[in-house]
Amino acid sequence: MNAIVDFLGGDIVVTAIVKTVVAFAALLLTTLIVVWAERKVIADMQARIGPNRWGPYGILQTLADGIKLFFKEDFRPRTADKWTFALAPVLAMVPSLLAFAIVPIGDHITIGDRRIDLIVADLNIGILYFLAMGSIGVYGVVLAGWASGSKYPLLGGIRASAQMISYEIALGLSLVPVVLAAGSLSTVDIVAAQAGSVSNVSFFNGVPVLEQIAELFSFVPNWYIWSQWPAFFIFLIAGIAETNRAPFDLPEAETELIAGFHTEYSGIRFALFFLGEYVHVVIISAMAVTLFFGGWGGPKPDFLPWIWPIGWFVFKTGLFVYLFVWLRATMPRLRYDRLMWLGWKRLIPASLVWIMVTAVVNTEGVSRNARLVVFGILFVIVLFWLGKGDPRLTGAVTPQRRRVHGPS
């Protein structure tokens, strides 16, 4: 045993390998359960029964589907580009899996005298790594659309690249205020910065009544959802758009594009796209929890103290996955120009304004009055800005356009 450990390069390497394998297996297992759960929950919301044949409550349905897809004939269109066609599904799945490396799923456990942090890699620039992986994820969809050698996938691919590039900017910008507030790009530090209670915030110190009110809320954890809620909503919307799921599932809009970028895919390659989407859902949920909901933080009773953080993390992530499913069952698909309008004209400016506000508020030595002035200016801007809705919604059709397009 020790000989093997030494050959592999000592403790660090072995720990890293074990962590990677465990994280990979756990993530895939979670994804299988999420696929089943989504079908069950959506069935429930639509007053259907859903999968109920394999295993209790049909829980083995995903496994059965997987086996079926695995043994299907693997074929591709004659016009397809051979290597790129084979590469695309892999590129759709792998970056999402890799992104999980920087998600802390718990505090740490001690085996023997060895401390093992429950994160695959605590990178100094974790957030940057997450964004880089997200940006590589675009390739799977784009290449699948192009390599299929037929027009509907190509249209889906182009839509996907435009959508993902637009929303990636908003996603990246929505993470900047969190990084500013925590003062670190490492996910472990961001989770650590959210420990403690809301009433520790020094903003109300010295103001008589507000100080006491703040004291009343000492049971509320100091999560970034309270101080960074605009960033959270931008992150959530952009995150849903990044996963290409309803209401942002334009790249695979069935009614317009057959199945979008994966029209020509079947068998195990389709399964990879399918799994990739759900892994992405789990990743975005896990990141939302890590950045805005305190990560693995939560009450920690004495009984089995190491398991509670993992439990809290899984529970919170599960709630977000449920939100994803809920949205898919509820929301109609956005029109394409509305999608672009939301991304470029609302989310990106909003995140830029919020970065500025967070930067001012987090600068040491700024007086409370200065902060209030910043908030006041922000409030006026937001009021003005909300009043100006999409002209295509509020103004209906202008006379000029009616002359051009209307019936004569």
Binding site: T84, L131, A132, V138, K151, I165
Partner: protein, 166 residues
Amino acid sequence: MVDTWQLVVFWALFAMMGVSALRVVTSSNVVHAALYLVVTLMGAAALYVLLLAEFVAWVQVLVYVGAIIVLMLFGLMLTRAPIGKGMFDNDQRLVAAVTAGALFGVTTWIIVDAFEGQKITLSKATGIRAESIGDVIFSSFVLPFEVISMLLLAALIGAVVIARRD
């Protein structure tokens, strides 16, 4: 102290980047050429990781692989990447070779000249942290940084002006 494994990985990356860089210019399909360019850029990112410069490595992936090449692919798809097979070539090989050669020569000369044979020792404990890069950019290199941001801003406004219909 150079680790044996570090050398092995370096030469493996060298081979990979060399082959893919050659394929960028020799492949007749533009999308394939773009994908080979992705491999080369990822190889450069891997070299940065090998030098413990994680920040630079992931910025390289984020900006070059994740944004620039994707935009290039997007443009190609909208304009001139036909579905299926197609040949693309033009008769400017000589000009391209001279330009690339000159750029390569100048860049190499600048790098060699700037470091003057000076060696940087890497320590595993610290690596290069994001904080120190931020400090350096906003103190010693603030002028180049501002000049580049002005250039980008000008390009951005120029693109909007050209693309506007009215």
